[in-house]
Amino acid sequence: MAAPYDLNDNSVVVIIGSGAGGGTLGNELAQKGVDVVILEAGNRIEYEEFINDEWESFSQLAWLDNRTTGGGWRVSKDFPNLPAWIVKAVGGTTTHWAGASLRFQEHELKALTNYGKVDGANLLDWPITLAELEPYYAKAEDKMGVTRTNGIEGLPGNNNFKILKAGADKLGYKECHTGNMAINSADRDDRTSCQQTGFCFQGCKWGAKWSTLYTEIPKGEATGKLEVRPNSHVVKIEHDDSGKVTAVVYADKDGKLQSQKARIVCVAGNSIESPRLLLNSASSKYPDGLANSSGQVGKNYMRHTTGSVYAVFEKPVHFYRGTTMAGIIRDEAKHDPSRGFVGGYELETLALGIPFMAAFLDPGGWGRSFASAMDSYANMAGLWIVGEDMPQEQNAVKLHGELKDKYGMPIPDVWFTDHPNDVAMRNHAYTQGEALYAAVGATRSFPTPPYPSTHNLGTNRMSEKASDGVVNKWGQTHDIQNLFISDGSQFTTGAAENPTLTIVTLAIRQADHIAKEMAAGTI
């Protein structure tokens, strides 16, 4: 059924990456009758093959190609070759993700207007409004089966959630529930309901959690208009004399270089690989890389202001049982500068198994303090902070000056330093998290530093003016008409919310635009 397209077929839309952005866009276009080839660097691993084991699953799914990192963030010291925790497989990071699916708030799409100029930050308004996104948010929520939308019930709360809720009540928080999750609370879309296995980060073996791997991709393939080519690592995008992109060069499963012709190219490799690819595609016509007349490709790298609070109680919690992200508090997501920072943050439950807890609780930590925390594992509860971070020009994905990958292309070097606003927000959230758990009787709590980035955003940002960013309001590059960006790297700012629902929303909207322009013959 899956349509195999010829390498010389220059009528196809080529999408690079099959994750939240690429997988969704591929299906949406195929549903409209557009011929699509998705090139995916990773393997195709079906959900039955996922592994309920943190490190084994990590080696099965994670993007492990060499990367370097620098800047003031602690990740660069603790995980010098793992700036980000993302996936290389069909389905991309939607295999690993937890499923939290929140809409942006209106004011967040106009960050510069609402926050004002912030020193050292490169804030900008999105060239779109919430009203323009709303119909697409609704489609995305329906597609993904997001709980508490479309009449879908919320998930039942696990032990970790019950503690969060009890603490939220004590602190007077009003908006605390089991979240808007792209996880089935009842059978839906030919997928089963959540069995509370607690391995959401390792790929849902039940298929209860939405992933493009077993929703968008097979649906697109069923139209006969979508071919997904796994083990196809794109190294370069080529263009003609007029500047239009014409083909994509990729290494196939044997490492042999192939060239797929294309009418349109959509880049959805996540916010490290997407800008890297544009930069690595530099030519005599575009010496600074493709679509980079603004100089913003790779800049403004955002990763959300994150951190965790784990707390120990006198009695058992068994917080690893059930959905990993089992509940949320939204009260702090507002913009209220009286707290000492602009923007807001969400608090969401999080649990790790013993192997990952050891690696992430206090990276580099050792001795009695660390070990006794691990001893209390069964009595732990935990939450994750996810808040808006400031775009900064020097936070960037750059090409490494010396190191190359096995195809001879410079590897990405990821630079990040917290903005003072990020630090103030994180400290506020730590204080709130610790107070919340103390209110329920925690005997000890741990303000845990950020993990390698799971949310990677902003490196090909959307802007009204071509001089401020890389793409326009449709994700179309300002410089090259038939080159699109279709993943989270389009984000102008990060907002407080987990990004995937918005990535999917933008992909659905972009598909409408591409199909319309193709029909009109403009691209």
Binding site: D53, K162, Q195, Q196, W206, H318, A358, W366, A371
Partner: protein
């Protein structure tokens, strides 16, 4: 804490095993670290057995879990020997690191220091060295990724084959 009994030359392994039964002790014989009490032995292929014994003690000092038997630490440091066998630089890193540790610990060496606090004070001085980083960095995975220790910490591991926790206590908290 484990007492490590180091025999003078010439004692047979059998004799050691016999002596070992007297108390909880790790013995070094030939190329192995032996725990007669719990009937396990760790063969060293490349690193000195004394080095392996020190690594076991060091591992416990880095991640001190009193409820974990020595064998878990022994399994956790085994990879150092395997890596040393493959890369001579790693062998040097570990042997030199242990020698340095012993030198800093006074006449009897690291393992002769009775109090954890005294040993830890030395470790704090070397915690940024490549040697310490290599040992700790490996240990955080090789210790905590042993499935056998998970139940000791109250972690149940794989759950898909048991149908998840939907019927097995995902929301069973009662003390709140």
């Amino acid at each position: 804490m484990t007492t490590i009994y180091e025999p003078s030359r010439g004692l047979s392994r059998r004799e050691l095993l016999k002596r070992g039964t007297v108390g909880a002790a790790l013995l070094i014989s030939g190329q192995a670290v032996i725990c007669p009490e719990a009937a396990w032995a760790l063969e060293a292929t490349t690193l000195k057995p004394e080095t392996m014994a020190t690594l076991i003690r060091l591992a416990r000092d880095i991640y001190p879990h009193d409820q974990l038997a020595d064998r878990f630490y022994a399994v956790a440091v085994k990879g150092q020997d395997a890596l040393a066998a493959k890369t001579p630089e790693h062998k040097t890193l570990i042997e030199d690191g242990i020698a340095d540790l012993d030198k800093r610990s006074g006449p009897g060496g690291y393992r002769s220091m009775a109090w954890e606090d005294d040993r830890v004070a030395i470790l704090r001085d070397i915690e940024t060295t490549p040697f310490f980083q290599a040992v700790r960095g490996d240990l955080v995975v090789s210790l905590y990724n042993q499935k056998e220790i998970w139940p000791i910490f109250g972690y149940e591991g794989e759950s898909y084959s048991k149908g998840g926790y939907v019927e097995r206590g995902f929301n069973d908290i009662e003390w709140l």
